[in-house]
Amino acid sequence: MTSDDPWQRYEVPGSTQSTVVTKTAVITALLKKAAHPLIVVAHHADIPANVTGNPVEIIIRIADAGRIPVIVTPSTAPAFRKRGFTPTATLSIMEIGARLNDPDWSIGDDHQHPDLVLFLGFPYSMGWLLQSGLKSFAPKGIRFISIDQRYQPHCTLSFPNQSRDEWITHLNTIADEVGYT
């Protein structure tokens, strides 16, 4: 398996595909540079991880450290709330897509559309379909980054296919780097 092969073998994206990002520092730098970053989390994030950590807990660390809003899907919200974290909003995967495509939509009252969006915890096919839609219909200039365990082809950047341990390590590194100023 090469790192930029879509995890589902038959998900052939077309003319362009996500650039593989293996250095977490790249993601951290973009997060810090973004004026209106957003993290979107779906329910696969809460699949119990190994001893090195649970993705939901790491996302909470990233969000807290970077003061980044988090939108979760309804099935994901309980995993955040039971850890004492209240997500910024709860929307279904497709509702999130529809709002990200709307240039007038904003998370808060500042009327600013997100300029960088991190995705995590997506069922694979729902992830690539959502991101394929964003590729063509979202306002220009937004960076979409998949930080899921499996390579997603329709974003600006994506983690490569990796083992669960490697994935958790990479997520932890982002959390550490975002918190380090």
Binding site: M1, W7, Q8, R9, Y10, V12, P13, G14, S15, T16, A42, H43, T73, P74, S75, A77, P78, R81, K82, A89, T90, S92, I93, M94, E95, G97, A98, R99, N101, P123, Y124, S125, M126, L129, L130, S132, G133, K135, S136, F137, K140
Partner: protein, 797 residues
């Protein structure tokens, strides 16, 4: 003067006619040798025709655009490219246009239209072939009898075409109309035709509407001609499951959707006293329709059971007709030495056409091994061949299986290198390599656990997928061998239409919201997880006293689920169209009875004009009838056209995660207040009616998300306070149950404190105080989207 007797009038009304008049003398006319060709005579009925009799592809555009403004398309392209013409491939991503000028939005809608048109064409083609056969066997004049309590026999047909069908022959006119519209719809997909995505979407809705007309024609034809249950809530309970097929008897497996050959098999068995000597079982909708004709027949399961049952060796002969038949069925059948009889010209499967050959020669060639099977397009002949082959093959085959035993699996599994290639081609991303590794260590339980979640596609066994040549799907079956033999459940066979009396009894409570909703559980077996999720969803809403209607593979999967105390849902809940009842309408084509029930509520309960009056009826259904469709395992193009028929009526549809691959959702924006205004038909005033229903087509990420969405999408602007309170109670209760908290959008649906469920009043008021919620004036609108329906004295503003 031309005097036509009443008997002649009847004849003329039944056929195309040519009238020759030797001499015609009137006050102002004198003519010789007049000939009149009458192409079609339309029966008139008591209700005057409305504005859209047999609408063309543009006639309901205005209505469609109203819906599409509320529920704009949200696209999910499969890839960046369009590959439909030789100017391409073209990259349409990021705002680019193709060589023909099309953009990504229009292209996605075009694909949705293609899918819906294929689905509609398939149902219409099925209806045409079935009708031709039934006209041949029962006669064009065969009177349509759908049951004594079903006076409104064809709500979709009457609404769309203005035809009140009385005989089988009348349905030919209906199918003529459908075929004409499908031709126009397909023409729209050609390069250089439609270019606007919203106009494509309108045509998708048109395809869906036509689909329900064709399905209705097919089902009322077979109900009437084959004496299926006629709206009978107590239709028989029949056996379902692989274990229902007796391994000690010869057996015939039928697969597909057109019941005609299965009926002939049954008749041949009856005529020759073989009913108890041979097991007749089916997969997919042919099986459901077969049990409506022959309640001794058995259902093996939904379409995901095809390969597993064939490899299990349960069939001594396989008879296929049309739709959803594995296209490798002949190859699979060879693995267990079972011959295949193809009975539809739509699905020859490469078999030689033996329709004109004698039964003896066909049977002889197959038994001798000279031929793998045959195509026989005469259902009567196919019936005889199937029965004689089953009897002859049974002792030869000895139920030969292509499923390994546990020891063979464990030995083979040791070769697994853990590369995960099998998982990477699995649509459900099942952890196959992990399960195989465990099997290599002697633990087959992980493989067995995958049995319910495997959709039976066998992509994991594709050429070159496993470098070691392992067959993961076969290994799952091997690990589940014993369980398959014990797989036995009960399902109520399809009852057909909803009775008019049932509509009269529950129409009011549905429209007022006091029956919390009508759930249509339909679709295929392309589930994201266990098939039992379908039954789990059904049970929850049955307990909550929703009316749960179902059809097709979903109806089977509901049957293959048992309650905590081991009871089947069809045994635990009645089959009446009433609160807390489970209504299996029948096969795919019986879906028309679900949309038909919604139309009947408008016509029978609310006395709205039905004849050729689509827009008004859809407006009524959309704003008042709390119905929602759920196709958890939707797979096919037919599922997309069925959904499209519900969309045009304004009925929301929820699909499971794989449904996102239909590439387009229709999502409302609850944060856009202006989208949720309706006209109060009493005054003409525009009033905010909340996002009711919020979406027209939505995908749910999990079973729980779907179950919370269902009560929300059952809310309608017309709900009384009591009705809204009941619906809110279910919405909030399910949200709490699955997500632990009350929903954050609850304030949108509480119009006044009277809407608040009493048991939750304190909590809800507390939550409302934390929002900008303001109590409304309590006026419930007479909601419509159509200014022309504002009553005298009122004026649309």
């Amino acid at each position: 003067m031309i005097d036509i007797s009443s008997q002649t009038k009847r004849k003329i009304l039944k056929m195309k006619a040519r009238v020759k008049i030797d001499e015609l003398i009137g006050d102002d006319i004198r003519a010789h040798g007049v000939e009149l060709d009458i192409g079609r005579i339309i029966r008139t009925w008591e209700e005057r025709p409305g504005p859209t009799r047999m609408p063309g592809i543009g006639d309901l555009r205005e209505w469609d655009h109203k819906l599409l403004k509320k529920y704009p398309p949200h696209y999910l392209p499969f890839c960046d490219l369009c590959c439909l013409c030789t100017m391409g491939k073209c990259d349409l991503s990021r705002g680019k246009r193709g060589a023909c000028g099309i953009d990504m939005a229009a292209q996605q809608s075009r694909i949705v239209l293609l899918s819906a048109s294929i689905g509609t064409a398939t149902h219409t083609g099925h209806a045409r072939h079935l009708l031709e056969h039934l006209v041949e066997t029962s006669g064009r004049d065969h009177h349509l009898d759908i049951g004594a309590s079903v006076n409104l026999e064809a709500p979709n047909i009457r609404l769309v075409t203005g035809i009140k069908p009385i005989t089988l022959g009348d349905l030919e006119d209906v199918i003529d109309y459908c075929e004409k519209e499908i031709t126009q719809l397909l023409a729209c997909c050609h390069t250089g035709q439609e270019g606007n995505n919203i106009d494509f979407e309108s045509k998708v809705f048109h395809a869906g509407m036509i689909d329900h007309v064709a399905m209705e024609a097919a089902d009322i034809a077979q109900i009437s001609s084959l004496n299926f249950p006629k709206g009978d809530p107590e239709a028989s309970l029949v056996d379902i499951g692989i274990g229902c097929v007796n391994p000690d008897k010869p057996s015939i497996l039928v697969i597909g959707h057109n019941v005609a050959p299965s009926v002939e098999i049954t008749d041949y068995m009856r005529d020759h006293g073989l009913e108890d000597a041979i097991d007749l079982a089916g997969i997919c909708c042919t099986a459901l329709d077969l049990t409506r004709y022959n309640n001794k027949a058995k259902i093996v399961g939904p379409l995901s059971h095809q390969i597993r049952f064939i490899r299990y060796g349960g069939a001594d002969v396989i008879v296929i007709d049309e739709q959803c038949v594995r296209t490798d069925v002949v190859i699979e059948a060879q693995k267990v030495n079972a011959p295949v009889i193809a009975t539809s010209c739509k699905n020859f499967q490469g078999l030689p056409d033996r329709t004109r050959d004698s039964v003896d020669s066909i049977v002889g060639d197959i038994i001798s091994g000279k031929s793998l099977g045959a195509a026989i397009l005469d259902p009567v002949k196919a019936g005889e061949v199937a029965v004689r082959l089953a009897t002859a093959m049974f002792p030869k085959r000895k139920k030969f299986r292509a499923i390994p035993d546990e020891a063979t699996i464990a030995a083979a599994a040791k070769a697994c290198g853990g590369c995960d290639n099998c998982r990477r081609v699995c649509p459900n991303d099942l952890p196959l390599a992990e399960a195989i590794a465990a099997a290599g260590k002697g633990n087959l339980s992980l493989l067995g656990e995958l049995y319910e979640s495997c959709i039976g596609c066998t992509r994991c066994e594709g050429e070159g997928v496993c470098a070691k040549g392992l067959m993961p799907h076969t290994m799952i079956l091997g690990a589940s061998r014993i369980r398959m033999g014990k797989e036995k459940f009960r399902v109520r066979c399809g009852r057909g239409p909803i009775q008019d009396t049932e509509i009269r009894a529950v129409g009011g409570p549905i429209v007022m919201g006091e029956v919390p909703g009508v759930l249509g559980m339909v679709g295929c077996s392309n589930n994201p997880g266990s098939w039992k999720d379908v039954g789990f969803i059904a049970e929850e809403f049955l307990k909550r006293r929703y009316i749960v209607t179902t059809s097709g593979c979903a109806a089977m999967q509901i049957g293959m689920y048992t309650t905590e105390n081991g009871q089947g849902l069809y045994e635990a809940y009645p089959g009446t169209f009433d609160a807390g009842s489970l209504v299996n309408c029948g096969s795919c084509v019986s879906n028309a009875h679900i949309s038909g029930a919604a139309i009947k509520i408008a016509s029978i309960f609310a006395r709205r004009q039905l004849n050729s009056n689509y827009e008004e009826i859809a407006d009524y259904v959309h704003n008042r009838v709390g119905a929602v469709g759920i196709a958890w395992g939707a797979m096919s193009q037919k599922a997309s056209s069925i959904a499209a028929g519900f969309w045009r009526l304004g009925i929301p549809v929820i699909v499971g995660p794989h449904g996102a691959k239909y590439r387009r959702m229709l999502l409302g924006r609850k944060d856009h207040d202006e989208d949720w205004e309706v006209i109060d038909a009493r005054t003409g005033e525009r009033v905010y009616a909340a996002p009711t229903p919020e979406h027209l087509f939505a995908v749910a990420e999990t079973r729980e998300e779907a179950m919370v969405l269902i009560p929300k999408l059952c809310m309608r602007p017309s709900d009384t306070t009591k009705g809204r309170s009941i619906k809110l109670n279910h919405y909030i209760d399910l949200h709490r149950k699955f997500f632990g908290v009350m929903p954050d959008d609850m304030h949108l649906f509480v119009r006044t404190t009277a809407d608040i469920p009493v048991a939750m009043k304190e909590d809800i008021l507390k939550a409302l105080r934390q929002t900008d919620w303001k109590e409304g004036d309590g006026r419930i609108p007479d909601p419509t989207l159509l200014p022309r329906l504002v009553r005298k004295g009122g004026r649309a503003k």
